[in-house]
Amino acid sequence: METLTSIINLSLLASMIRISTPLILAALGGLYSERGGVINIALEGIMLSGAFTAAAVTALYHNPWLGLFSAAIAGLLVSLIHAVASIRFRANQVVVGTAINILFLGVPPLVSGALFQSTGSTPQLPREQTLPDWNIPLIDRIPVLSQLLSGHKPIVFLALLMVPVTHYILFRTRFGLRLRAVGENPEAADTAGVSVEKIRYAGVLLSGLLAGIGGAYLSIGQNSLFTRNMTAGRGFIALAALIFGKWNPLGAFLACLFFGAAEAISIRMQGVVAIPVQFIQIIPYVVTLVVLAGFIGRAIPPRAIGQPYVKEK
């Protein structure tokens, strides 16, 4: 019993939220891109660019908010490469995404070499130069919720907020309708007078913005520096969460929480339960396979995903 309570408790949930935050942002980002019909496996690379930019700008100008802003811009610019290549030049979207991922394994060490005479990591920031912990006035007084939701970094609240916002945009606004239309049936959308190119650009750029912020959470929120390849596959897990959540904002959010919970539990099980570490660490992935194969059923992607749109003359 004691073992169980030392694994499952409130701090586990708080830890789950912290771990899920970058995943949620990246997954929601991916959602905008993929709902519009552009596969975005570049999330990992975009997150890396955001993480590095945030840490580097903060190290240089000592202002984490400026760092956060720059990370969003960096994510936007990287996704612009993706958009131009895959929408304007109709390149294979998987190849473009892979290229971006590989490119941003290499770019941060190169730039950090020029800026900080290091080859991978940025200088460690003092604590007051990372993003602050926010306590939410009202929630602060409610016993359980305060432990769960208060004292997180601002990006955590942004991620939580983006879930209903994305749902609203996708299903209640004209832009959302058009985005879904160009992802399902671009010909029909085009016939109706919607510019497939423009809408797709918007989707991909939004994905870069959000994934860039998700990356910033890693380097100036959760941690206080950038280290080489610090996303450690989180971009791909976000992508899995997106598919797992059937390209739905709420579904993707729950899937991210699920991955976050699995990771948080595996962290707490280590050393408490007499199971080898290797087994504990495969739990999230095994559970994913089982759930995907057995319970969720087929995840149906947007119909036009991965296909460049060629306007008929």
């Binding site: 290229a99 060490p109 990591s121 890693l218 959760q222 941690n223 280290t227 610090m230 450690a232 660490q281």
Partner: protein
């Protein structure tokens, strides 16, 4: 068509890092040529690789050598980098880290006339010097300091990759802590089981936070870049951490109790010096407490955190370990 495109792209991408990191110069003015291949952590991990980097840089300054270095971006580019040095006939090729041992075993076999050095690995070929550190002994001492400092009677250990080498740190630390306080509780966690475990500060921080929630107030990290996340966790919660490999007391002043220093820099420098003086010899070179190969760090950053009585006690234990009166388990030898 699409598939072929992806394949070609992947092949190009994989081969790029290997060739991009080497620059070709041949004008070395008769100086001995030394090549060093770093571990995945990279030379500014402020820890293990950083120590090796300090050692070769000192050698470059003080000895007539020409130094080149490679930082492999991923494990697959270690071998081509090492072979590139060998093909160009480098006088000494240094491999940093246990992961390079199997590769160097093959390469040193293929180039019997060149000299090789492996740090943290054991290779039997006569042209390879294996630099082995008694991390368990140094960890024993910092374990004692942790046990003497904790107020909760609980201390933590966060390792990087779950491998025998890091178990050496873990068991030494736990034994030292129990030697100082038999009733102490030691929590032990690892970041992961692949080499990504050295570069995941986010997970390092979460592991440390989980240990802190269970009551640990001093945490020893042997986790490369992931250990920097442990430092963030103790700073946030106002507890203490213990650094590793390099003296890391400066990284978060006031929050780093001490560091288990592994003098990779001294060992590397000595080896290069032996090469220059023609005394290079293969086989095992042991670095332990007796020759200051491992130690605990005491400087202006942490002097106020450790009391004189603790220092005296630890130094007494150090003497007894050197004299063989205290036996510290070597987790690698035990297996």
């Amino acid at each position: 068509m699409k598939r072929t495109g992806i394949l070609i792209l992947l092949c190009v991408a994989i081969s790029l890092p290997a060739c991009s990191s080497l620059r070709h110069h041949d004008e070395d003015g008769g100086r001995k040529r030394v090549g060093i291949v770093f571990d995945i952590g990279g030379k500014d991990d402020k820890s293990f690789n950083a120590a090796a980097w300090v050692g070769v840089q000192r050698a470059e300054k003080e000895l007539p050598i020409k130094l080149r270095n490679v930082e492999p971006g991923d494990p697959t580019s270690i071998e081509p980098s090492m072979r590139a040095f060998a093909e160009r006939g480098y006088d000494l090729i240094i491999g940093v880290g246990f992961a390079q041992a199997p590769i160097m075993e093959q390469v040193s076999h293929d180039y019997p006339n060149l000299n090789f050095v492996i740090i943290d690995g054991l290779i039997d070929n006569p042209n390879v010097a294996s630099l082995i550190f008694k991390e368990h002994e140094g960890s024993f001492l910092v374990g004692m300091i942790a046990a003497k400092t904790t107020k909760t009677g609980k201390v933590g250990f966060v390792g990087g990759m779950d491998i025998p080498l890091i178990h050496k740190f873990e068991t030494g630390y736990a034994e030292g802590a129990r030697y100082a306080d038999p009733s102490i509780q030691v929590f032990e966690n690892y970041v992961g089981v692949t080499d990504a475990a050295w570069n995941n500060p986010g997970k390092g921080k979460e592991l440390a936070k989980a240990q802190i929630e269970r009551g640990a107030d001093v945490i020893f990290q042997a986790a490369g870049n992931s250990g920097l996340g442990v430092f963030d966790a103790v700073e946030e919660t106002n507890h203490l951490a213990i650094g590793v490999d390099s003296n890391q007391n400066w990284v978060k002043p006031g929050f780093i109790l001490t560091s288990m220093i592994k003098r990779v820099d001294v060992a590397v420098f000595n080896t290069v010096k032996e090469l220059i003086e023609g005394r290079f010899s293969g086989g095992v070179h042991l670095y332990g407490l007796e020759n200051e190969g491992v130690a605990y760090a005491l400087d202006d950053y942490n002097r106020s955190l450790i009391s004189q009585s603790v220092i005296d006690e630890v130094d007494r234990a150090k003497k007894e370990i050197i004299e063989g009166r205290i036996k510290v388990t070597d987790a690698m030898a035990a297996k």
